[in-house]
Symmetry: D2
Subunit: 347 residues, 4 copies
C-alpha cells in the first residue's frame, strides 16, 4: 500500500529485458552507439519531429535544469507556477545550471497557470531592462504537480502569450505520458504544435530505471546542449543502458499503457475515497495523483493498516483531531489488491 | 526639478574636498593605506562595533550581492519583501554572487514585512530539505523601497523570528542614513543590537560619488569576504579614494544631516502635493520618497514645467485620462527653489 | 577487438542479477531504502571507515566535480597533474561545480606527480592571497590517466606535502580498483590512511552499468554534499538501482577480480606487442592501459583487422608513414580470443 | 621613492578638475547622462571605431572578466600567457564571470606569447570536443605583465592564428596607454585593425581615480554586456563621475603623455641601475616596469633609504646574501627627485 510516490515503483519487465539484451559485447561509449541512435530516432518518430534533437540524461532535475539553461541566461527571467517542481523541489538546480536566472511565480488553482494570470505576471514584471533582467522563458509542467493537465489548446494559448513577449517555452514533462494518456492526444499536438520549444520527457517514474529525455524541437541549440550536458555530469559513459530503456519504454506504446494504468488506479482511489463520509477530493483527478482531505479517524485507520502516502502540505501534524490533507500517487505498478486493501482498511 | 532618483544628485562639497585632500603622493594600494584604516575605524566607532569587519565596495548591487553570498550558498533560501531591490532591480546579482540561491518573496504593505507574514512564509516553505534547499537568510531593506522604515523593535522582532528558524539577517541599507534620520536612533540600535548580521551601508545616493560599505558584525566571515570581493571585481586598486569619501561623509554627522535634509524635502513635497484636489499620498512619507496619485491634468502640468520623476509602477501610459501614480525622490541636494517651482507649476 | 575504452564494456552478470533482484515491489525513493543503506555500510566496511559518509552518483565527472566542490570554493586553487582527467576531459565541470576554482597543473612523467614537482608548484604559486586565491586541494588520479599507480607511501608523501600547505586531498579513483589490484594493498591503506579526504570511487568502467561512489572520510561535509548532489541533478530518484550495483560489485571481491582481469589482459597485450620489432611500450603497464608506439605498417594491419583503439595523442594522422602512438585499454570483459586475434593480426 | 605599483599613484589634476566640473546639478543616472555619451563618443573617435560599443566599469578585474564572459561560455577555453594577470592575480574572476571557462596557459619569454607557442598550445589542446570543451578566446596583455609589448604586426599574427581556430581575441590593456606610447602607433592599429575583438582599456593606473573602459569592436555583443555589467555589480549609479575621468584623460592626449612620462622614468631607472656593478636588467624595458637583479648589498642600501618595490618573484627572502630580483614600476607621477634619490642611495 505504497502511494507515496511514483518513484517508489519498480522497472517494467520489458525495460529490464531490454537492459539485459543491451548487455552484449563492447560498443562505443558516450552516446555514439547504435542503440542510442535508434532510441533518438524513435523519439523523433513518436513526436513527428524529424529535426528534433534528442538527448538522454539521468535525472528529471537535470533534464529541467539543462533545458532551462538553453533558454535563459543568468540575467533571464523564467515564469512558472508557484508550485512548479523547478521552484519547490529542485534545490536551486535551475538557478545553478542557468548561472542565476530568476524564477518568477505565477499563482493559479489546480497547479495551472491561466492565460490571464500569465498576462498579469508579464505585465507586472515589464519589459526587459538592465535593472530587472530579461524575460526569457515560460515553463509549464504537464501533467502538473497537482495531477491536472493542460490540453493542446491551453498550451497553445499560453505559448502564444509567452512568445508575444519574446519568451521561449519549456515543458516539464516528468509525467508527460500521464498527461497524454489522460488527454488522448498526440505527443506532437501537446508540444511543438502547441508552441513548446523544449520538453523534459520523464521516463523514470513511469516504468524505467533512471533516464529522462530532453527533446529540443529547435535543433539549433543541440550543440550547446551537448557541452552543457557533459560539464553538468550528465553524459553517461555506458550510454546504451539509458537508450535501451527509452527504446523499450516507447516500444508498442508501453509508456502510454503504463501511464494509463497509473491514471486509472488514481481514478479508482478517488472514487473509493469519495464514498466515505467527510472525505473531499480537492483536485480534479486527471492523471495519477489524488489530493484529498480525510477526517482524522480515516487517516488513523489508513496509517494503522500500513498505508504510505504524504501529508500535503507537509507541515500538518501526524497526530491531532483536525482533518488531514493528503496526496496519493499511483505508480504504473500499483497493485489492484493494494487499492482494495487500502479502501477496505478505511471502512 | 529632478525628483527621479537620489542617484541623480551630486557629491557633497566636503566629500569632494576630501577626495582632493586624499590626492597627495603615493600610498599603498588595495586598501592597505592609512585613509582606509581610518575610515574602517570610523565606521566601527559610529556603529559602536569594535569587532566589526568593514569593507568598501563600488556599488550597492555589489554590496548586497556580496553580503548575501556570505550568508547563503547556492542551495540556500533568502527571504525578502516582494518589492525588495534585490528581487526587482538587480538583474539576478544575488543569484549570481551566491551561486544560485533562491529569493523567496514575502508580501506586505508599505514595502514592509510583518512578523505574521514572515512566519507564514517560513512555515509555508518548511524545514531544510535536500529537495527544497536550506533556509539561510532574511534580507530587510531599511529604509524600504517604498520610503517607509522599520524601527529597532520591529527589526529585532523579525530578526528573532528569522534566527529561530536558523536564518541570518542582512540589511540592505542603501538608504540606511535616511532611516536613521527619520527614526532618530543609533546605528547600533538599528543593526546589530536588533539582530542584524551584515549591513550594506549606502553612501553613494546620499552625497558620495561611488562607495558603499559592507559592515559585517560577526568578523568570522571577514576573510571570505575579501576573497569574494576581489574575484567579484570590487577590490578598488586606488582604495584611498573610496575610503576618503566615507570618512568625510561620516565626519561631523554629515551623513545624517544630508539624509535629514532629503527627508525634509520629501515631507515638504508631500504636504504641498496633498493640498491639491484629487491628489492622494499613497504611502506614509517617512524618508525621502513620496508615492502619490495625481489627476492626469496635474501630471501634464508638471511634465510641461519640466519636472522629472518616474511613473510608479512603470507600466502606466504617459498619455491618457486616468490618474497617474508617481514616485518622487528627494536627493540630499534638492533645491528648495525646485520644490517651490514644482508645486507652483501644479497650481 | 575493442580496446578503445573500458567504457565500451558491458555489465557483469552478477551486477545484472542484482538489478533484477532489486526490482521487487515498491520501496522508498531518493536513497532512503534498505539496499542503499546496505551498500553504504558495505563501502564503509570495505574501507574500514565506520564514520565515512558514502554517496552514490551517476557519473564519474559528477563524482569528481561534486567532491572537489566540497574542498574548494570559487576562489580556491586545486593542484592536479597536467594530464588529469579533471583538467583535460571534463569540459570545465570542476570549475562549474566549485563556482570557478582554478586547476593548477603539475607536470610529471607517467601521469604522476612527484613530491618535488608538487613542492615546486606550491612554492611557485605561493601563499593564499586575496589577489591569487587560496590553496585548497590536491587531486591525485589513481590509477593515473597513463595507467600507472601511486602506492600508499607515495600517496602519503604527497598528502603530507599538501596538508603542510593547508590543502585537502581528493583522489580521482575512476580506476581505483585497478590500482588496488595492481598494488595488492587495502582500500584504507591507499586512501584515508595515506591522507586522502575524499575518494571518487569508479564502478561504471569496471563492470557496473552507471554508478560511482563518493566516499567522504571526514563526515562533517556530508550534509553539504547532499544539497550539492541534489541541485547538481545527481540524486537518483529510484536510488535502489544505483545501490544494488555497488553491493553486487563489492560482494565477494568482484570489483578486485574484474580489475585484476583487466590488468592482466593489458599485461598480455603489452608483452605481445613488445615482441614485434620496432614497437616500444611507452609507459610502465601497471593497470589496464597500454601506451605504445608502433611502426605504421603494424598499425595499418591492426586497423585492417578491425582493431579499435585511440591514437594517443589524438592529433596524429590516421594515414602516413611515421610511427603511430596508441592507447589500448583492456576492459574487465576483454575476450582472450580478441587479444590473440589482435596479436596474430600484427604478425 | 615608491616604485611598488602604479596603483600607488594619485589622480592627475586635470582629471580631478573634471570631476569637480562634473559635480554640477542633477543628471540622469546609470549612464544615460551627457558626459557619458561624450566620453563614449570620444573613445570611439580615438579608436577610429564609430560602431564600437563602449562601457565603463570600476575595476580592471571586472573589465577583463566581463569582457571574457562575452567571448567564452563555461565550457570554453581561453588561451593566455602563463603569467597573465587574469591567471595569476584575479582570484578566479574570469572563471566566476564566465561561469567556469578554463584558462589554458601558453609559456613564453618576456611575458609574451609567440606564434609558435600559440600554435603548439592550440594543437596540443585540439579541436572542440564535448569532453574537452570548446576553443573560444585568446587573451593578450599589452603592455605585458613583464613590461614588454606586442606591436601591431605581432598582434595581427597572433590574432590570425587564433581566428583560424575559431577563437576571438581579447586584449587586457591595463597598461594599453604605455604600450601605445612605447610603440608610437595608433589605438586602432594596435587593436581592431590587428584583429582584437574586445579591449579592456585601463585608465586607473595611468592618472585616473577608478575607471576602466571596455571597448567592444563588434557591437553585436553590446546588449549582453549591459546585462552582465549590471548583475556583475559594475553599473555605476552616478555614472557621470566615471565618464568625466575618461573624457579628461583622453583630452589633448593626456593619457599618452602620462604613459610616456611613466615609460621614460622606467627607462631612466633602468639606465641608472645598469651602471652599478653586478646589476642585471632582466627584461627589455619597453614601458613602465623594470625587472632587475641586484647584489644583496645594493638592495639593502635601497631598503635602508626607504625605497619601496616588490621582490619579484615574491618568494625570495628579504634577508640573506644572494642577489635579489626586483620589480620597479614607475607611475605617471613618479617624482624625478625620487629617481635621483633612489640611484644616489645605491651609490
Amino acid at each position: 500500500m505504497n502511494f507515496a510516490s511514483d518513484n517508489a515503483g519498480g522497472v517494467h519487465p520489458r525495460v529490464m529485458a531490454a537492459l539485459a539484451a543491451a548487455n552484449e559485447g563492447q560498443v562505443p561509449s558516450y552516446g555514439t552507439d547504435r542503440i542510442t541512435r535508434a532510441a533518438q530516432d524513435r523519439v523523433r518518430e513518436v513526436f513527428e519531429a524529424p529535426d528534433a534533437s534528442v538527448h538522454f540524461v539521468m535525472s528529471g532535475t537535470a533534464a529541467n535544469a539543462l533545458s532551462l539553461s538553453l533558454l535563459a541566461p543568468g540575467w533571464g527571467k523564467i515564469y512558472c507556477h508557484s508550485d512548479a517542481h523547478i521552484q519547490t523541489s529542485e534545490t536551486g538546480s535551475p538557478e545553478f545550471f542557468t548561472g542565476g536566472a530568476k524564477l518568477l511565480l505565477v499563482p493559479g488553482d489546480d497547479g495551472r497557470i491561466t492565460p490571464a494570470a500569465l498576462s498579469r505576471a508579464l505585465a507586472a514584471n515589464g519589459r526587459d531592462s538592465v535593472h530587472a533582467g530579461a524575460n526569457m522563458a515560460l515553463s509549464l509542467t504537464n501533467a502538473t504537480e497537482w495531477g491536472t493537465v493542460y490540453d493542446p489548446a491551453e498550451v497553445a494559448t499560453l505559448s502564444a502569450i509567452a512568445r508575444e513577449m519574446g519568451l521561449s517555452v519549456h515543458m516539464d514533462g516528468a509525467r508527460f505520458a500521464n498527461a497524454l494518456a489522460a488527454l488522448q492526444v498526440s505527443p506532437a499536438d501537446l508540444t511543438w504544435r502547441a508552441g513548446v520549444d523544449i520538453l523534459s520527457l520523464g521516463a523514470t517514474k513511469n516504468g524505467c530505471m533512471g533516464v529522462e529525455a530532453v527533446v529540443i524541437f529547435d535543433p539549433e541549440k543541440a550543440e550547446e546542449f551537448e557541452f552543457r550536458r557533459k560539464r553538468g555530469g550528465q553524459l553517461a559513459s555506458k550510454h546504451r543502458y539509458l537508450s535501451a530503456q527509452i527504446l523499450a519504454w516507447l516500444e508498442g506504446g508501453l509508456w502510454l499503457d503504463l501511464a494509463g494504468r497509473a491514471n486509472a488506479t488514481a481514478a479508482e482511489l478517488a472514487v473509493g475515497l469519495a464514498a466515505f463520509p467527510g472525505v473531499s477530493i480537492d483536485q480534479k483527478v486527471q492523471t495519477n495523483a489524488v489530493f484529498a482531505t480525510l477526517p482524522r479517524a480515516l487517516h488513523d485507520k489508513a496509517r494503522a493498516a500500513g498505508a504510505q502516502y504524504h501529508l500535503w502540505p507537509h507541515d500538518q501534524a501526524e497526530d491531532g483531531d483536525e482533518p488531514v490533507s493528503i496526496r496519493l500517487v499511483a505508480g504504473w505498478d500499483a497493485d489492484p489488491a493494494d487499492v482494495r486493501a487500502f479502501l477496505s482498511a478505511l471502512a
